[in-house]
């Protein structure tokens, strides 16, 4: 094993950031389309979700919830910031959406990802809807 050079470290970080950006897009798209299968693949076994109503859901409860039709439409993420901490990462993002009554809504989320082998799994999410 050799010590990682600065160039190798930079390349790994670039790859990780690209992978996490894609996963973040997948997370938002899968909430919008109730794609529980995507979450089956990308949530860790010990995943926890802090819901906008102040409750905490484990993986199974979140999967049941996300499989139902979404209460909002046109969900999109913006101002996404991804921060790497070795084999863990924090994603901060802002959401925009249309509520059931047609009004525009916005929110925020903080997701935590951990790399296991070559795959990143989401271990936690905290969601605010305003």
């Amino acid at each position: 094993m050799h010590a990682q050079t600065a160039a190798e470290q930079s390349a790994h970080e670039t790859a990780d950031l690209g992978a996490l950006r894609q996963l973040n897009d997948g997370f938002i798209r899968s909430v919008a389309t109730s794609d529980a299968a995507w979450f089956e693949r990308h949530l860790s076994d010990d995943f926890l979700n802090s819901n906008p109503d102040g409750t905490l859901s484990d993986r199974a409860a979140f999967l049941r919830h996300v499989a139902r039709p979404s209460a909002v439409s046109k969900l999109a993420a913006e101002d996404v910031r991804i921060r790497l901490f070795g084999a863990t990462a924090i994603v901060h993002g802002r959401t925009t959406y249309i509520k059931a009554d047609g009004q525009a809504g916005a929110g925020r989320y903080t997701d935590v990802w951990a790399r296991t082998g070559v795959a990143w799994l989401c271990v936690a999410a905290d969601v605010t809807r305003c």
Binding site: G54, R83, A87, I90, H92, R108, T110, V112, A124, T128
Partner: protein
């Protein structure tokens, strides 16, 4: 159990106790506007998602913490601390008393990272109802 595993378990136990103590003080400092505590325990790159959906950086949050507020009796409920890679995650419910005496609730996720041997808070996400 190997000596290495015992050391690892002792270290993780120590880390959990440290983060548990940080979590207790985070709430105390928020209730009593203890800016000095935050100056000591927030990372330079700290950000917080607050109840109105905005994202504050370290200086904006400390400025906000310093202002008087009408809430009291802050307490954490069902605190769960997890060590995940280089991070420590704190998941907790939140209880407090509103100015009219009514009980309020909330939830937060705080995230700590080790920097130069110290756990510093790098992120918080807070909802209050």
């Amino acid at each position: 159990m190997t000596a290495l595993a015992e050391d690892d378990r002792r270290t993780r136990g120590d880390d959990l106790r440290i983060v548990e103590d940080l979590n207790r003080n985070y709430l105390r400092a928020a209730e009593f506007a203890d800016v000095a505590w935050y100056e000591t325990h927030l990372a330079d790159d700290f950000v917080i998602s607050v109840v109105d959906g905005s994202l504050l950086d370290r200086s904006a949050f400390i400025e906000r913490i310093a202002r008087p507020h009408p809430f009291r009796d802050y307490r954490a409920v069902d605190v769960r601390i997890r060590l995940v890679g280089e991070l420590a995650l704190v998941h907790a419910g939140f209880g407090y008393t509103k100015p009219d005496g009514q009980a309020g609730t909330g939830r937060y996720t705080d995230i700590y990272a080790q920097r130069q041997g110290r756990w510093l808070c790098v992120s918080a996400h807070f909802n209050r109802f």
